[in-house]
């Protein structure tokens, strides 16, 4: 699959936009989902699932670990998985 980090970030933003009350355009790429944005687990799980389905990557371990994650960090993680496939 030929996809850029910017395209993945856009996908994450559009998913967040459907799930969050806050104006997603005001969220920076580096803000942490839980620690800074107070995003709940329902939203995070859906963002991961949407990315899994869209890019055909497995994020099960990342979901389990639930490490601090921002739009930028998640997009890069997915991009690395896509190019290593």
């Amino acid at each position: 699959m030929n996809v850029t980090v910017e395209e993945i970030k856009e996908k994450i933003r559009s998913t967040l936009n459907e799930l969050m009350e806050e104006d997603v355009s005001k969220i920076t790429d580096d803000q942490l989902f839980v620690e800074e944005l107070g995003v709940n687990s329902i939203v995070i799980v859906q963002v991961f699932l949407t990315c899994q389905e869209t890019y055909g990557v497995d994020l099960t371990e990342e979901m389990k670990l639930a490490e601090p994650m921002s739009i930028q960090m998640l997009a890069e993680k997915i991009h690395n998985k896509v190019i290593s496939q």
Partner: protein, 516 residues
């Protein structure tokens, strides 16, 4: 009474052709009552062989996410004589160890193979390979147990005997079949044409109770085709779901999706999202805040709210539209009786304001401690720890008088457990305590280095420890002060006074995000 009676009214005598629908590798599967009874027997036969070395009456853990075989394993274990401990599929190693100490369980059924010391393990994947058979020695058990989703090892296990669950199935299914408000929302075609979507975990008292009551009444259940909140909405729409029960966080999420996609969460938008046939819903498992309650009433779905606890099972239920008060949680049903206890005088009253205490046939019978049952006095009302008002037989939820925090995802968070988790702070700060603030856990700290707390070792270790907690239990904020915080007569930090203390001394506190 043993669990054969519960099995008979749910699966054993299920008359419809459609009991359970599930999806695997994109394919849809449907089983009727008879087919599922065969599956249950076959799974029981496999388990009987696997656990042949374990004495009957020994607790066996069921630690699995919702799965089409979940009910087969549950009833299969009971049928061959093992009481079942219902565990969170994501339970931590610490909490699992604590549950083992309390119950003396000897085996565990999990989604995928797991290793837990000497404990025998069977995975759902293994069980899916069953061949049609029947257990050799049927000897139904009479006990199951619900567990708290412990984080740090403070296990709480509540035992329910078959008569309590049987009564709940009968009482709730009766309500589902005969309440005019509910039956008025049904689509044409009788019970079989009105399926419920199973979104709540079956190991939790709410998901378990609702599902068994629906099956008792003859309604089909459908497992989501895909995980996640989008998967719930899609399955609801594609499968013509009539009833959807979930926690406030999910309802709020669904309304938000409707707003983002269609501009609002009114009836037409919700129909586009969830399908035309979704006309009945239930919000439970956590407090429904007034703003969300008001919004839910505008969806056009007939929404009932309720109150119950793991220890008590379902106690009240009522449609939101029946009462203008947004803290209304229904009328007493399921044959429970309730009183309120005046928090000042201790007087017990049948109506008025105070701590809610309940009793009835569907209550837990005992708790487990070191493998033994500690029985509850059945004549005593169980004190809920919730503040409530009973007015004309209606219940209004007013807040909590116990320290437990209930997030809007329905997660019970025990501050004492989190205090244990952060107990390394004993040597690093003057005082600390976890408190529920806006339905989330926050850490209150008194430290001489409050002014630069984010640069301290204590802060660094809090961030590290926080990451070891499950997502829904993490602390996202710290309130730190260099002033002493209130203490009890025993010299412990007075958890219950901290929110008031914060309010009065806001200028003395710094609020920090828990991040590196």
């Amino acid at each position: 009474m043993d669990y054969s009676k519960v099995y008979d009214i749910t699966i054993g005598n299920f008359q419809g052709e459609h009991l359970i629908t599930w999806f695997k590798n994109g394919e849809k599967h449907i089983a009727g009552g008879k087919e599922y009874a065969t599956v249950t027997d076959s799974v029981a036969a496999v388990l009987e062989k696997k656990f042949s070395g374990i004495e009957k009456g020994t607790w066996i853990g069921l630690k699995s996410n919702n799965h089409y075989l979940w009910l087969a394993v549950f009833f299969g274990l009971l049928k061959i004589g093992y009481p079942v401990l219902l565990l969170d599929a994501n339970a931590s190693e610490d909490s699992l160890e604590a549950f083992t100490v309390q119950s003396h369980m000897k085996a565990i059924v999990t989604d995928t193979p797991e290793s837990h010391g000497d404990m025998l393990n069977v995975s759902m994947a293994e069980l899916e390979e069953f061949a049609e058979s029947f257990p050799e020695n049927v000897c139904w058990e009479s006990r199951i147990a619900f567990c708290t989703s412990g984080t740090t090892g403070m296990a709480k296990i509540y035992v329910f005997y078959a008569d309590a669950i049987y009564a709940q199935c009968i009482n709730v299914s009766d309500y589902l079949l005969h309440d005019k408000g509910i039956t008025g929302t049904r689509n044409e075609g009788g019970v079989q044409a009105n399926p419920m979507l199973l979104t709540l975990p079956l190991r939790h008292c709410l998901g378990f109770g609702v599902t068994l009551a629906f099956i008792t009444a003859g309604y089909p259940i459908v497992l989501p085709a895909k995980p996640g909140i989008f998967g719930m909405a899609d399955t609801c729409r594609d499968e013509g779901i009539w009833f959807f029960c979930s926690v406030p966080a999910i309802w709020k999420g669904l309304m938000r999706i409707a707003e983002a996609r269609f501009g609002d969460s009114g009836p037409e938008s919700m129909k586009k999202l969830m399908g035309e046939k979704l006309t009945f819903g239930c919000s439970s498992g956590a407090r429904l805040d007034p703003a969300a309650a008001k919004k839910l009433m505008g969806t056009g779905i007939y929404i009932v709210n309720g109150w119950g606890m793991t220890e008590t099972s379902f106690v009240t239920m009522g449609p939101l539209k029946d009462d203008p008060a947004l803290d209304y949680v229904g009328i007493f049903y399921n044959k429970h009786s309730a009183v309120v206890i005046d928090t000042e005088t201790g007087d017990v009253k049948s109506e008025g304001y105070g701590e809610l205490a309940v009793n009835g046939r569907s209550m837990h019978t005992s708790t487990l401690s070191d493998g033994k049952e500690v029985f509850r006095n059945k004549d005593e009302y169980f004190r809920s720890g919730d503040l409530a008002e009973i007015r004309n037989g209606r219940l209004y939820f007013k807040g909590r008088c116990k320290s437990v925090i209930i997030s809007d995802s329905g997660e019970n968070i025990y501050p004492e457990e989190l205090d244990t988790h952060f107990s390394f702070l004993d040597e690093l700060v003057e005082q600390y305590a976890t408190v529920g603030y806006e339905d989330e856990p926050v850490l209150f700290i008194s430290s001489k280095s409050a002014a630069e707390f984010e640069n301290s070792t204590a802060f660094e270790r809090i961030v590290e420890a926080d990451l070891r907690l499950p997502l829904g239990k993490r602390i996202t904020r710290i309130f730190v002060t260099d002033k002493p915080m209130p203490v009890t007569s025993k010299g412990e930090t007075a958890r219950f006074y901290l929110l008031g203390f914060l309010e009065k001394n806001r200028a003395d506190f710094r609020e920090l995000s828990v991040k590196k």
